[in-house]
Symmetry: C2
Subunit: 146 residues, 2 copies
DNA sequence: ATTCATGCAAACGGTTTGCACGCAT
DNA sequence: ATGCGTGCAAACCGTTTGCATGAAT
């Protein structure tokens, strides 16, 4: 079995204090694989018998975000923030309007398009946000059974 | 001077009750031209000597949103929702981070990309939001003179 | 006359913060 | 020894809701 990542090393590289809670939070986010809320992190940690307070979860998330280890997005319409590991790759999201899960998509189709617009408008594009929404495979299937 | 739009007619077409407050809110959003928060709407109305309570602003926004007259997004990271007029044309925007002007772009580069994603993830995409930001031609020029 | 919109204040829920204590350096 | 991380409870703030009143149909 593959040895799990050395989260302590990751923190050290960012000159952050290395604590059990910080390592646990990074690990949960990484294990989860898709964007996750603060409360879900809190509950999953509880499930793994890690005692942590919700406010610590928030403080850890803030620390990890401002050190660039994770990123925060607010795509959902219920005012809950979502956190995910900050991969170097540029990515976008697919939001399922039914189960409200957020799926990450690596890569970006917009490079050529942005170049065209820059030429056309004399605009210098620094970045963009792209959200797509719809129904995930799972929810499509369930709809048919109703 | 051009006559302002008949917001009463717009509400009537949606079979919505035609009230002064609803018309005012639509008008403010339309005048504003770029996405605006509930509180900003409230303050702008106050500035126009329209007395309305903040909760009514929220209720009007909910009514307008669910009738498809405006749309709601939560792109900012401060947990405030933004509202804008729902235009029929599919278009995107270039937002200048310096002068805060908004440039409309007709058309959309995402159709093929979305088909790919649908095949890849089994996701059924219903729509998307794309914002690009940067500097417009004018502001680029001014930067060089500093 | 009926139904729905509004104002007010209070509730709600996700997030932040003050304070005292504990742990990493 | 010091400064930063943590737990707890309370505060915060954008948003929602219950209730009584008022306006639109």
């Amino acid at each position: 079995m593959e040895k799990s990542k050395d989260y302590g090393e990751i923190l050290k590289n960012k000159k952050m204090r290395n604590t059990k809670h910080r390592k646990s939070v990074i690990e949960i986010i990484e294990l989860n694989g898709q964007p996750i809320t603060a409360e879900e992190i809190f509950l999953k940690l509880k499930g793994h018998n890690v005692t942590i307070s919700l406010s610590t979860v928030y403080r850890v998330l803030e620390a990890l975000t401002s050190n660039g280890l994770i990123s925060k997005s607010s795509v959902t319409d219920d005012n809950k923030n979502l956190f995910e590991i900050n991969s170097l790759e540029h990515k976008h999201h697919l939001f399922c309007v039914k189960c409200r899960k957020l799926f990450s998509v690596n890569g970006c189709p917009l490079e050529d398009y942005e170049k065209d617009l820059e030429n056309k408008f004399g605009f210098e594009i620094e970045g963009h946000k792209l959200e797509m929404y719809g129904r995930c495979e799972c929810c499509k299937r369930n709809d048919k059974n109703i």
